[in-house]
Structures are given as C-alpha cells and as structure tokens.
Symmetry: C2
Subunit: 210 residues, 2 copies
Amino acid sequence: MSEFGGFIQDEVANDELDRIEAAYGPLAAAVRELVDATIRSTVPPEEAALALAEVEAVVKRLRAQQMPGPAGVRFNSEGRAWNWGNAVVGLRNAIAPPLEIVHVRSGLAHANVDLGAAYEGPPGLVHGGATALLLDHIMGETAAAAFTRVTFTGTLTMVYRRGTPLGPLRLDARIDREEGRKVWVVASIGDEEGPTVEAEGIFIIPRWAT
Amino acid sequence: MSEFGGFIQDEVANDELDRIEAAYGPLAAAVRELVDATIRSTVPPEEAALALAEVEAVVKRLRAQQMPGPAGVRFNSEGRAWNWGNAVVGLRNAIAPPLEIVHVRSGLAHANVDLGAAYEGPPGLVHGGATALLLDHIMGETAAAAFTRVTFTGTLTMVYRRGTPLGPLRLDARIDREEGRKVWVVASIGDEEGPTVEAEGIFIIPRWAT
C-alpha cells in the first residue's frame, strides 16, 4: 500500500472487493436497524442487558482483525475507488443513511433518502445539523464536478425555511457559477411540499490542482 | 401520555427512567463500538456473514416491543425531560457521539468530544458536514439560554479554516448579541492548535413564546 495526499493505493482485486462488499454491506444495513431498534425498543432492562452481551460478542468477532485507524479513501490500479467509512455515503458506515447521489451531469446532482428515528432533532423532525451534514456532502460532490476534480469546502450557509419532517426527502444541488478557483454551489433538501432548508456553498479548487 | 407542540408528557417515574438508562445507555455505547468495528474490521466475508446473523437476532430481540415512531422529546411531572433519540446528544442513539455539553452559564457553552472512524469524510479528517451537525446542536442549545426558552435555527454560516482531524476536539459557543426575537450565536470546533471551523447562526424566538 502507498499513499498520495491521504488517498491510499490498496491493491485489492475488484472481485475480492465485490465479495467484501457483498458481506459487509448487508452487515452495515443490519447495524443501521440495530441503531434504530436501540432507540425505539421498549423491552425491559433485563432484555436490553442480554442484547448488550450479544452486541459485545459481535464486536469481539469483528475486532479479531481490523485496520489500525479510520478506513480512509482507497483505490486500486484497476480503476476502482472506495470510501466505505464515509459518514454520509459509506457502504460500511451505519451512521451514513447511506446517501445515494445521482450525478445527472457534471455540476448537477440529486438524491432521495428516507430518514428515520436516528436522525431526529426536534420532536418528529430531522435534526437541523443532520440536514447540514447531507447538504454539505452532496454540495461537495457537485462542486467536484462528479469526481473530475478536487475541491474543499470554503464556506457554507444554510437557511432554514421550516422544520424537515422525518421520512422520505429529496436533495438537489447544482453549480451556480465559477470564478477562478472558486465554485458556488446551491442546494436544498425538502419534502413533497418543497424545500425546507436551502444552502449555498463556496468551494475552493486547491492551487496545486490547477 | 399527552402531547404539547411535539413534546410528550410521559409519566414514567424517575427511578424507572434510571433503570432504563442504566441498561440502554451501555447498549447504545456497545452499538457505537459495533458501528466502528463494521467499518474497520478485516475479518473474512464468512465471519462478517456470521456477524450479520447475530446482529439480526439482536434486532429481533429489541423489536419484540417498540415505540411506533421516533422517540421524540419527553418529560414527566417530576420535572425530568429526556431526548434519548437525539442525533447529537441522544443517550440511546448510536449515531450521536454523544456530545456532552457544559453550560457554563446562560449563553456560554463548550464540549469536548473524541470523533472516530465513523465521522470520517476526507481521509483522516472529520466530515465537514459532521462538524456542521455538532456545531448546529451546541449553537441551538446556547441560543436557548441553557433550556430557559425555545429557539429555532434561522440561518447558519460555517467558515472552514482547515481540515478537522479525527480524534479529540473541542467546541465553544456563545451568544454574541440579541435583537427582538433574534439571537446571534458564534461558535467553533477545533483541535489543540485552534479552530478548524467557525460558525455564526441566527436563531429565532417564536412569536408564541414571547
């Protein structure tokens, strides 16, 4: 393995990556269910204590062999890249919904997501910070012109129009304009009645990448 | 149970709440470990498949009895309130670090947090949206003057100074000024070398609360 600016070249063959994803993807999906059940369960404390022992056993099984640190972003020379640990889109990260972003074309993206109990802030509503988490991510990918260049978030402004209900939601993002190394992206998240939060971000193309 | 503006009056006695928290708090902590292990494990796919079956069994145990929807924010007439499902501070939410906020006085707060692999965005760094998630929350609690009033987020602006490393971090928030029903809050998150992200938010006191 070698590293370039934090991106790790990791020569795992594509068919082996497929096998890992086929096992760990469903595991992460089950852990998402467990996160939800841990919040919403009303079984007696004695049952929760049994669940605790069971979860600890699974953790022990998985930690028998593990990476020394975070997963990072990896790629192989067959042209595949993977970021399983990403907090918003990571296949193996149970914190990530995960968001599945559709890049219609460079600079135009959208996503549909269904947010449950784990994303709650005010009663029945999505946590305002969770909407910011998802918006930041889709805007960053949009600024990067569907992965054809590197950009960093400069500033991000969110305007909260009304509460965002838990349940099915849609995100939209597009590049508004560009000027030198700066890229302006506008985005929104909302329900079937329209946007609940609107965002504008300025993303920076680093000097070394131009 | 009755409901006021989404806040649910739920007459569970304090000693029963203590027993529930003593069982479910450690369970959620173990699920946080499981989230991390699911990202970082390198055990073979066959082992991950065994883990999947075990996690599904725990989910089944917990879902034997559960709330019909999200947890919401609840209170009893003994003066206790709990929001176990909150995405940032929820004791029973494995997505929440959880953030433990110290209110020094009304309008001044800070928190220490240690963010691991589950909060990664760029390689080795905290996801920019995850910093926004935590900042939004501490700013909201600060605007609410340590829970003495209700406020809603109006706008939130984040300026990204540099990447936020995974590991131990500190957040600071304070009320900058107030004008009518508007409250300006400034905040930052950073490491031992100083702030990595600075934020300003305008929070609104609803007309019905004045």
